[in-house]
């Protein structure tokens, strides 16, 4: 797939010990920071993120608020910190679910062939051409149901492309000698799939986990931005953007901080996805 060859982490061939580039180090640090904010955000926050102070509304940085306040006088830094978990838990659940579905059905379709493959691939064809986010906007907007319904729908509508990626990776393995050898030794199909084939397609799986995470982050934060994902009042990054957009002249940090965080998060995960893909692929190739 061309999706994983942006080549950011490409290291010139022939290097002896390949050290990760500065960019990769930076992106890893971003991820560590995000993990800390996810788990300890509530205790790190200097103020209560939901306490309103209308006298102090829309104030620029200073006066005890490092990043100023929003239209209701709530502390931006605290809201951003606490909002990290809200912003990342959906994409996490999303990418894990998509990957599980993609691996199981992709392996089955690619390895078993026959009618199993036909049924799975026809089903994915049906869902493939649908503009997922548009459908989710309409469904969630009309039915209500909120955040986790959106996550579920996004999983269903994204899995087809994941299944295709895994299947095509499996097809490349299916006729290699090691499979035949294992089969001759009487290894069962299930064991073949999960013990022998899976490690060999791991680079694709890892890359697609990380790319799916980015896709989930974009999709779910877009929904929150449109006012459809997270509930009103939640300190969600996407929702903060909409709520604080009118403050661009007063306290721009209120809207710009979550925007920059979303951009940096998505960028870092993409870069690490590329990097991990290339490392794992090289290791697999080195082993022959």
């Amino acid at each position: 797939m061309s999706v994983v060859e942006s080549g950011l982490a490409v290291v010139p061939p022939g290097g002896r010990r390949r050290l990760p580039s500065l960019l990769v180090v930076f992106c890893s640090l971003v991820l560590v920071g995000l993990a800390i904010a996810t788990f300890f955000g509530r205790s790190l926050a200097p103020k209560d993120p939901s306490v309103q102070n209308l006298l102090d509304a829309g104030a620029p940085p200073g006066h005890g608020h490092v990043l100023g306040t929003d239209g209701l006088g709530r502390d931006i830094l605290s809201r951003v910190l606490v909002g990290t978990r809200q912003a990342l838990e959906g994409p996490m659940v999303f990418c894990v679910c998509v990957t599980l579905i993609a691996v199981v059905f992709g392996l089955l379709a690619g390895f078993k062939g026959g009618w199993t493959e036909t049924v799975i691939m026809r089903a994915t064809d049906m869902l493939f051409a649908i503009p997922a986010l548009l459908v989710i906007i309409i469904t969630v907007g009309l039915l209500g149901g909120g955040y986790w319904l959106a996550v579920g729908l996004l999983v269903i509508l994204t899995s087809p492309s994941g299944i295709r990626v895994v299947r095509s990776a499996v097809l490349a393995q299916r006729n290699l000698p090691y499979i035949e050898a294992a089969r001759t030794l009487g290894v069962s199909n299930t064991k073949l799939m999960f013990i022998h084939v899976l490690p060999n397609i791991l680079p694709n799986v890892v890359a697609s986990i990380l790319l799916d995470f980015v896709g989930g982050l974009i999709g779910l934060s877009s929904l929150s931005f449109l006012g459809l994902g997270s509930p009103p009042g939640a300190s969600d990054w996407g929702r903060m953007l909409t709520e604080n957009r009118p403050l661009l002249e007063g306290n721009p940090w209120a809207a710009v901080t979550p925007a920059v965080l979303l951009i940096v998060t998505a960028f870092s995960v993409t870069v690490l996805g590329d990097w991990a893909f290339q490392r794992l692929e090289r290791r697999n190739n080195d082993r022959g």
Binding site: A129, P131, L134, L142, S222, F225, V256, I263
Partner: protein
């Protein structure tokens, strides 16, 4: 001859797909919470007479199949009823909002062609160099960042801080319109630029390594000929064929970008309709969106065959 046959078959399939979509779209009225007559009533005060009148007017007492048939017949004549919120005909509301969205889309396409293809070609012909890394970094940001976050950041930098572009409105007259739509169009185009530049880069890398490229250089052809006739033409295939993906992207993108920049286009129309449960508007826009996606995929497949003669023989696939 066979291509006509293929086209005919595709059109029939598209018709069937649209029919399936129309059933779902019609069903929206029944799937949304609340009774249909209550939804169609909107914010007016309810009393039994009004509700009964609405039931009669929309034929809600008829069997559901004949209701669908009636709705479909009207839809085929571009009659989707009236907006519950404004009382305007749905077709009227759409045609009022459509120009802004179309201008936005055209502007974005121009940006994509002018920026993405050259970037991809430049990066693809010098893989691993400083230039390539710079371009791929920008591409990765555009590819991974949510459009509304980029839009808002650019609104702050170029609108609020630098005052290069206006913050609100769509402008009147060509120059003013271009000025007002520059930031939205750039935001809408960003993701697609990243997508197309990425694919162009990959295919330019492949093409650049081919023997005919080396031979063209050895023969001493001018860079102009090499770039336009050899590189561009051979790298263009994946670009043109991703048009389906691009259109699908624009559809969703328009909703988000119009909301970010508060533009009165189709995107904000459908979003408002969704939040106010204005079902007739949602139904019409939903059907329109499905039609656009299906057509875009057809055009993408057609462009495949026209650009690459080798594929013409196996059109039956």
């Amino acid at each position: 001859m066979s291509i006509l046959w293929w086209l005919l078959r595709r059109l029939v399939i598209i018709g069937l797909q649209l029919l399936a979509v129309s059933i779902v779209v019609f069903g929206i009225l029944y799937l949304s919470p609340g009774k249909p007559e209550q939804i169609l009533l909107g914010t007016q005060p309810a009393n039994p007479q009004v509700l009964a009148a609405i039931r009669a007017k929309y034929h809600l007492n008829d069997p559901i199949v004949s209701q669908y048939w009636l709705w479909l017949r009207h839809a085929l004549h571009f009659d989707f009823g009236r907006s519950i919120q404004t009382g305007q005909t749905v077709t009227g509301a759409i045609s009022e909002r459509l120009p802004v969205t179309i201008d936005l889309a055209i502007y974005a396409v121009v940006l994509v062609v002018l920026i993405a293809v050259p970037l991809g070609l430049i990066a693809g012909t010098r893989p691993g160099t400083f230039v390539d890394r710079g371009i791929t970094t920008v591409i990765t940001i555009g590819f991974s960042a949510p459009a509304f976050a980029l839009g808002l950041a650019s609104l702050y930098v170029f609108g609020v801080t630098l005052h290069w572009f206006p913050i609100y409105g769509v402008g009147s007259g060509f120059v003013d319109r271009v000025r007002h739509l520059t930031l939205p169009a750039a935001t809408l185009a960003m993701m697609v630029i990243a997508l197309i530049a990425r694919q162009t880069r990959a295919s330019a890398m492949r093409v650049n390594d081919q023997d005919f490229m080396t031979f063209a250089r050895v023969r001493g052809l001018t860079p102009r000929v090499i770039w336009l006739r050899y590189l561009l033409r051979n790298s263009a295939l994946p670009v043109v064929t991703s048009i389906g993906l691009v259109i699908a992207n624009f559809l969703t993108g328009a909703v988000i970008v119009e909301q970010t920049f508060a533009l009165p286009g189709i995107g904000t129309l459908v979003l408002d309709a969704i939040t106010t449960k204005d079902i007739p508007v949602v139904q019409a826009v939903g059907l329109l969106a499905a039609f656009i996606v299906l057509m875009a995929n057809l055009v993408a497949d057609l462009s495949y065959t026209f650009l690459d003669p080798r594929l013409r023989t196996r059109t039956s696939v």
